[in-house]
Amino acid sequence: MQLRLEVNGESRSATVAGAASLLDVLRDELNMPGSKGACEQGECGSCSVVLDGELVCSCLVMAADCHGSTVVTVEGLAREGELHPVQRALVDAGGVQCGFCTPGFAVAAAHFLGAHPGASPDEIREALAGNVCRCTGYGAILRALTGLAG
């Protein structure tokens, strides 16, 4: 089918085969490889995007179901060359190592803190418990985000 959707404020279209996920379409059809595939079953959050206002694992979403939807990916967080505060904080606090989980963390954290700007450390941890990081042990990520929330 011919899929039309809005990605990071731009109207995009792609030809979609039956079983393709939103993640497949973003990465392979729309040339936006920022969202990462790591588990293919919604356990690690590396593919997190905001779909019609909801945080989702794009590996679990059928692309064909996204016709007419609005999607925000990691590529859409920075505005006019300025990093999103969450991105800036992750860099400054050392919350990035191998970085494979980072796009998903940035999207999920920006989405959560946008709705809960005064979140406590425990609330941040709970909100991001669906995003797995294998490198940092989460300490630097928590420091980055609590700095913003505080």
Binding site: A38, V96, Q97, C98, R125
Partner: protein, 740 residues
């Protein structure tokens, strides 16, 4: 070598500063290219047929149905390998594709290149294979009895001796997976002249390259392997995965070929931590001083050698830990089975035996009626002492006392912990009221070598180049996320006095090997090469212009700029290339293991505080405190990142991470069933860095990646024992080990 620290220059972005990593911004914006993100015009997609048996004979293999499919460009089997049919960095015993017999579940049998990923996967399904199943060898003790030995290490030091207090124990370590978030992936691009460029997940491009060209049967300069973006390694990239497959497909089709393993393939696509069985006997005086340690260590290497030799070497040489003992008897064996292949993982070998010897030390403390920390203090190994295993006299600082003192000085968290679900075992599952929770505190100390040991010719090449635009570091060393590139740039800045220092990744044709990004070695090895190359370059340029210092503008004599960088580089860039070697090591004596086997050592200590629900067997790790011997923290933020991340992998091994293997078959090869620590599981970490300067290494730095993963696991288990009174001789500790 002796490091000339007197010439350290104050410069912004130099050593000791928490300089932000240069790939931080592209990683947060999604612009950073990982191997799985690479793209080439006209590229094909590769896919792999994995064997569905742990051991089988291939009685029929017919690729014709796959080859006949529209869009399929090549289907290759072991018969299509033009050069050496087997590979391996220490011994070429692993077939590129199954060689008639399958020896582990998931072994690659055939590979396909097709126009798109879906066609490639369907073509894999169209390959006809008939297997004659064979009985897999899955019991490592049976393998040892049958003589299926990959390597044995025999250590005999001192005369047999006996103590009045004897503690015997048997311990097991389950099989942990590195679970890097980025899976095995790569892109091979033919050059049209019979060669190719390969971009693939790797920890050591040159050692891959040597094996690849052997398998392809081509000259070394026909293949150029490039460092590429990697989503974590932790040992999983120490051995090859899709490397030769990509090259074979690209050369056969004449087109670029990309492969990306999915998570299920990744679980069979790399080596895992060796599972271990360990039998220990400690004998001590009534005052707790060790008299004799006997250990038998058996690790399961799976079907091929990979790096099992180094792993059983470490397990054996560090089988006693950082303790003095004059009478030591260790038999270490790595055996060959049909279980999943095992190899390098963070702390390789030292992790397994640390769990056993630290458990033994706690039991010994109980047997003689001493506090566990005091028992350790009575036995500490210090600089100038002989290693209990190899007899090697430890040169250079080994701040074991300082590590213990600093750890003890960290205040314990307050009792209680509140009723927020996040602070309770079981978390938001709301399984556990605070009233049933029992708190425990545990402690452990660990020791490991840094860089390669036992006579390995271990070196790192680096070149520092001065251009009118600034300095460049050229190296083939692979950044896997740990921050090595940032640290090397800091080193070069502090040596040169220049802020403008760029890292230029080199392929295998452009410079010699940097060695492996493993064994906590790159900060000291590539960092050492960068230090010496920068110092050589600086000295050469200063001598030429009779200057006394260098900066981003040029050469200075007093307050006078005597040559700007354009002048310095008038005849072209100035280059200084160094091959850096650590102090020589030697193989241990084959009968006794005695010898100067290691180049450097590092220690760390961990204290874990846990809350346990003894009825449900659930554990909440409240806090992990640590003090670590880091030599000199070149980038404190990055060192803390290694410590916190390494501890979390120790947390995983302690209470949740284990491959469930049933007659050679992995039953939980996905992230739903293989449990990784999440934000909800993460304890608070307090860390103290102990800086005493290393025996070698730039500005006294030591590698810091592995010690956090070594003693964190036994500290957690000791804390669970303290909370529950259970014996707990195996990791990971499962709920049923606590509550049944």
């Amino acid at each position: 070598m002796t490091v000339d620290t007197a010439r350290t220059v104050e410069v912004r972005g130099g050593i000791g500063e928490s300089v932000a990593r240069e790939d931080g911004v592209p990683k947060v914006t999604g612009d950073f290219a990982y191997a799985s993100d690479l793209w080439a015009d006209g590229m094909l997609w590769g896919a792999t047929l994995h064997a569905p048996h742990a051991r089988a004979r291939i009685s029929r293999l017919d690729v014709a149905p796959a080859l006949a499919m529209a869009g399929v460009r090549a289907v290759l089997t072991q018969d299509d390998v033009p050069g050496a049919t087997h590979f391996g960095q220490d011994e070429a015993d692993q077939p590129v594709l199954a060689d008639g017999e399958v020896r582990y579940w998931g072994e690659p049998v055939a590979v396909v290149a097709a126009d798109d990923p879906d066609t490639a996967r369907r073509a894999v399904g169209a390959i006809v294979v008939e297997y004659e199943q064979l009985d897999p060898l899955v019991d490592p003790e049976e393998a040892l009895d049958q003589g299926e030995v990959l390597r044995s290490v025999r250590i005999r030091r001192g005369e047999p001796a006996s103590g009045e207090v004897v503690v015997e124990g048997y311990y097991e370590v389950g099989q942990q997976d590195q679970a890097p978030l980025g899976t095995e992936a790569g892109l091979a691009i033919p050059d049209g002249e019979g060669g190719l460029d390969l971009y693939v997940t790797s920890q050591w491009t040159h050692v891959d390259h040597r094996q690849i060209v052997a398998c392809l049967g081509v000259a070394g300069d026909m293949v150029r392997q490039h460092p590429t973006g990697i989503g974590g390694a932790f040992g999983a990239r120490e051995d090859m995965s899709v490397h030769v497959h990509l090259c074979l497909l690209a050369l056969r089709t004449g087109r670029p070929v990309k492969m990306v393993y999915d998570r299920a393939e990744s679980f069979v696509g790399h080596v895992h931590r060796h599972p271990a069985r360990m039998w220990y006997r400690h004998e001590a005086d009534p005052d707790g001083r060790l008299v004799r340690v006997e250990a038998k260590v058996l690790i399961d290497g799976g079907p091929y050698l990979t790096t099992s030799g180094a792993v059983i070497g470490n397990a054996s040489y560090f089988a006693v830990g950082p303790y003095r003992c004059g009478s030591v008897h260790v038999d270490g064996h790595a055996v060959r089975t049909n279980n999943p292949p095992a190899g390098a993982m963070r702390g390789f070998g030292a992790v397994q035996t640390c769990f056993a010897y630290e458990s033994q030390m706690d039991r010994l403390a109980a047997a003689v009626g001493l506090d566990p920390v005091e028992l350790r203090r009575r036995n500490l190994l210090r600089s100038g002492d002989p290693m209990p295993t190899s007899g090697q006299v430890i040169e250079g600082p080994l701040p074991v006392d300082e590590v213990l003192d600093e750890l003890a000085a960290i205040p314990l968290p307050p009792e209680g912990g509140g009723d927020h679900p996040f602070s309770l075992p079981g978390g938001t599952g709301l399984t556990t009221p605070r009233s049933v929770v029992r708190r425990g505190v545990g402690f452990a100390l660990g020791l490991k070598n840094i860089a390669f040991s036992e006579g390995y010719d271990d070196y790192a090449d680096a070149e520092v180049v001065l251009t009118p635009a600034g300095a460049e570091i050229h190296s083939a060393a692979v950044e896997v996320g740990q921050g090595m590139i940032t640290a090397c740039r800091q080193i070069a800045r502090s040596v040169l006095g220049m802020e403008r220092v760029a890292w230029v990744p080199a392929d295998t044709s452009q410079i010699g090997s940097a060695g492996s990004t493993s064994a906590s070695r790159q900060t000291q090895m590539t960092g050492g090469a960068v230090h010496d190359a920068a110092a050589g370059l600086r000295d050469e340029v200063l001598a030429r212009f009779d200057g006394d210092r260098l900066d981003d503008r040029g050469v200075w004599r007093g307050d006078e700029l005597v040559a700007d960088l354009d002048t310095v580089c008038a005849d072209g860039p100035v280059r200084h290339r160094v091959r850096f070697r650590h102090p020589d090591t030697e193989p241990g004596d084959p009968e006794t293991g005695q010898g100067d086997t290691h180049a450097d050592f590092a220690v760390a200590a961990h204290r874990a505080v846990v809350d346990v629900d003894p009825e449900l067997g659930l554990v909440r790790i409240v806090r992990i405190d640590t003090a670590q011997d880091v030599g000199k923290a070149l980038n404190p933020q990055s060192v803390i990142g290694q410590i916190e991340g390494g501890i979390m992998q120790g947390v995983g091994l302690a209470i949740m991470e284990e491959l469930v293997v049933d007659r050679g078959v992995i039953r939980n090869g996905n992230f739903t069933d293989y449990l990784l620590p999440t934000f909800a599981d993460a304890p608070e970490v307090r860390a103290v860095l102990v800086e005493e300067g290393s025996r070698f290494g730039p500005f006294g730095a030591k590698g810091v990646g592995e010690p956090p993963t070594i003693s964190s696991t036994p500290a957690i288990v000791a804390a669970i024992r303290d909370a529950t009174g259970r014996d707990l001789n195996r990791v990971p500790v499962r709920p049923q080990d606590i509550c049944l």
